[in-house]
């Protein structure tokens, strides 16, 4: 229910960032046109105004403005400053124009840096981040759930103790360190030069006309080290979450009852324990969506992956506000979507949870 109001709040925040970002966007675009040239300083303001009009920056900022009467009357009585003066502008305002462009056309404006539509920049860089994030999520869940369940079943035994120690060590290692070590050992001919050291494809060999499966086999070695870096800490975290959830369920009376009824351990584990211990895992699943789009600046930079992490980093360095604001808005949207999906999954995993009015 709160999805739409929350999304409106996010767009408002993004828009405020856009409007309040240092520097006048029109001036920045015009600077790109006029620069420091002495010749054009006379008509500089005229060109700025023209650019402002083209970009809709001459319009009122929002649907309405609240001021005091004194702001519009310079020689007004003192009490004017206590009287609100509200103006309504209808849909002829910057926010409406900005939001309509996004909603109707997916238009987030133009990048200050590349002069390309922001949406194109995002579409160009998104696939690699998406591939890595989704593969990493699948791997992380695929590996951590069995480990967590097994550790819970063997609570206090050798496997539980060893896996706990190993996973805590993994979780405590920073990803830039792991990435560097992986490169040093597995992309270095002095040790095991098994994997490429950077990028996602061999620029010499890669051919756009290859069938998809050939491309996939070509890309695979480039993805192994980044994927390990993306995944290892999630495995550590998720398997501990899974273990904790499962142990809690193992202690429930209905599990004892199930055992007393003579149900097999496998049935108990998957039918009763697994499903009921999913709640913490589902919570973390909500964060997959925004991460899938933003990627990781550190991992993408270290492995030279042309993804969103590097794009965001470049945008921040270049003060490329249209790109920053677009990514902020998309992250907001996806975070909310993640929560929405989590809520649905909660209800699917646990029939006791219901969002309908009773």
């Amino acid at each position: 229910m709160l999805f739409i109001p929350a999304m409106i709040v996010i767009t408002l925040i993004a828009f405020i960032i856009n409007v309040e970002a240092p520097g006048d966007p029109a001036e920045r675009l015009v600077n790109a046109s006029i620069g420091n040239s002495e010749t054009y300083k006379v008509n500089r303001q005229q060109i700025i105004n023209q650019k402002r009009k083209e970009s809709g920056l001459d319009l009122p900022v929002f649907y309405f403005s609240i001021n005091t009467l004194s702001s519009s009357n310079t020689e007004s009585p003192a009490w004017y400053k206590y009287v609100p003066d509200i103006h309504f502008y209808g849909t002829h305002n910057q926010y409406h124009r900005w939001l309509s462009a996004i909603v109707l056309h997916g238009d987030f404006g133009t990048s200050y840096d590349t002069r390309m539509p922001v949406i194109n920049e995002i579409i160009t860089h998104l696939p690699w981040t998406l591939i890595l994030s989704l593969l990493s999520t699948l791997l992380a869940f695929g590996i951590s759930i069995p480990i967590g369940m097994y550790a819970a079943q063997k609570r206090g035994k050798m496997f539980d103790r060893i896996s706990a120690t190993g996973l805590f060590i993994l979780f405590s290692l920073p990803n830039f360190f792991v990435a560097s070590m992986l490169l040093v050992f597995f992309a270095n001919p002095r040790f095991f030069g098994w994997f490429p050291e950077s990028g996602v494809q061999d620029a010499v060999l890669f051919d756009q006309t290859w069938p998809f499966w050939v491309k996939l086999v070509h890309w695979a070695p480039y993805l192994v080290l980044p994927l390990i870096t993306y995944t290892y800490s999630s495995i550590a975290f998720l398997s501990r979450q899974m273990r904790a959830g499962a142990i809690e369920i193992f202690d429930q009376d209905y599990i004892t009852t199930a055992r007393a009824k003579g149900l097999g351990e496998t049935t108990i584990l998957w039918k009763h324990v697994f499903r009921n211990s999913l709640a913490p895992i589902i919570t973390t699943f909500a964060h997959v969506f925004p991460i899938a789009v933003t990627g990781s600046i550190i991992i993408e930079s270290l492995f030279s992956i042309p993804g969103m992490g590097r794009e965001i980093y470049q945008a921040v360095l270049n003060y490329d506000y249209p790109v920053i604001v677009a990514i902020f808005t998309i992250i907001g949207f996806l975070t909310l979507t993640g929560y929405l999906v989590s809520d649905i999954l909660y209800a699917m995993a646990d029939p006791r949870i219901s969002y309908s009015k009773k």
């Binding site: 600077n31 054009y40 060109i47 133009t110 002069r115 791997l139 369940m149 097994y150 270095n188 950077s198």
Partner: protein
Amino acid sequence: MKIHTMLKYAVIVAGLCVITGLAGCKNRSGNDKNNIVVTSWPSQPATLNAVCGIPSSARVLVFEYTQKTLTRTDLRTLQQIPILVKSLAEVSPDQKSFTYTLRDDVKWDDGSPLTVDDVIFTMKATKCPITDDALIRSTYDNVKDIVKDPSNPLRFTMIAKDLYFNNKLIFNELYLVEKKHWDSSGVMDKISIPDMDDPKFDANKYAGLADWMKKFNDGANGHDVKKLCGLGAYAVSDWAANTAITLTRKNNWWGENDTCAYNKAYPSKIIIKIIPNDQSRYLAVLNHNLDAEMWLFTDSYLKLKENKDFNDHYYSGTTDQITCNLLFINTRPDGKTHPMLFTDKIVRRALAYLTPVDDMNKTIVKGMATRQASFLQPLFKKFYNDTLKLIPFDVDKAKDLLAKAGWVDSDGDNIRDKKINGKKVQLSFKLTYSATPTNKEYVLMMKDAMYKAGVDLEPDPVDQGALQTKAAAHDFDMMLTAISSGAVPDDPGQLFDTKNWMNNGSNFSGFGNAVSDSLIAKSNRETDEDKRAVMLKKLQAMVYDEQPIIFLYGIKRKIVISKKYETPGMYVERPGVMLNNLKLK
């Protein structure tokens, strides 16, 4: 399914992933049969439009092989040479008219010959106030007009507004664009070059100009490979964003039988991989995945030099670069946000004595840098004032100077202080720098050194954008940064003209007075190199005396090139290697 069975499956899946990865690795192989040169660059260009957008070193690298200029600087000699013209300019006695004759064998990709109209169109497109090319347009402010020779369609004269040392070099970096391709309807024909200089230029006065320019400025013209055409031997055949730019040699290119080194095109492809970090570049060289590399950090380069396999497979060497790391001192602080610490040149000189430049060179860049005492590099032999002595690290001398300037430790806290306008001020300042690990090392070494003389240096790391903003706003005490220039000494006014301090230009330190401004103006108008050299040496002496900047050194470029090529040249000027000249043995 039992847990341990699931675990088995998980291990099998992970194993399959690794096996697939390893299988894919077999794809990797050398490119020895075809001469495909692979190099790297740390970032991709913002655009590859020859006129519009933000220029960058990556763009210059690509244009080196895909675009042509009328004249250029020869990397080997640092002298100007003709490229698309038959000879260098015939200069009029008043030094304001420069006449060129185009070569008659130059053809665009569509087979059309290069014409004077193309040159005029390129200049109009560059000078037009509504073209999105601000960062390069001001270079052409001094071009008054280009006039065709009625008796020879290949001959034209560029007329300059004023005397300027750079006039004869004006076409060195103007990448030509084809009029027929961009302006087939002749929109630009209605406007003359002098019209572009009208301070009241109004695009709406010229029918169709605003709409045409909107299309011309479109970002896609700098990204869509089909639109990236030029006169060079190579065309951009693929641009995988943030991954690689592939340049493919053109068939039937107009210059393929030319003997000029810049028109050689031995490699069938030049691939520029975008590798943002040094470790990957280092590993790429170790794995023989790069044929030429010019961006290695010192440590990586030295580590490679110790590797036998590397030495067996790569040539390596260093060249000076036309860059300088330096410290700008704010000589005109506002006295509020930044105290009046460095208004006295004696104090600034003391700071120079307290900067351990040689130690920094030895420790941080392992001696792979060349010191300089002025804003010009010693490699500019004609222009560099070699009478200026490098300032040594000398704590005692610095202490004496600081005491002479009235800075003493009156309260015994190891930091010198002084009463300024009746208020006690400590000699404590912020050193603002772009937050990189190397810069941090510089700053910490300086902090230690300064403290020895009772000067408190507080590191102030910021991102590069903030550094530029602070520099322009004079919002710093001292700032660590770097400058670079071209093969001919730049206009010194950028760094030292008082006008460029007042208008928040790049005279960050606030150096200058009427005498220095006049000297800069004279040197800029001087077209005789020998006379200009005398003036620049005088200016260097003035700057040296005032010490608004502490000049550190220019870090050498480290170059490695595969030994599968015939012995290559390594050059001072960017990119340091002529990739088009790499010929397989």
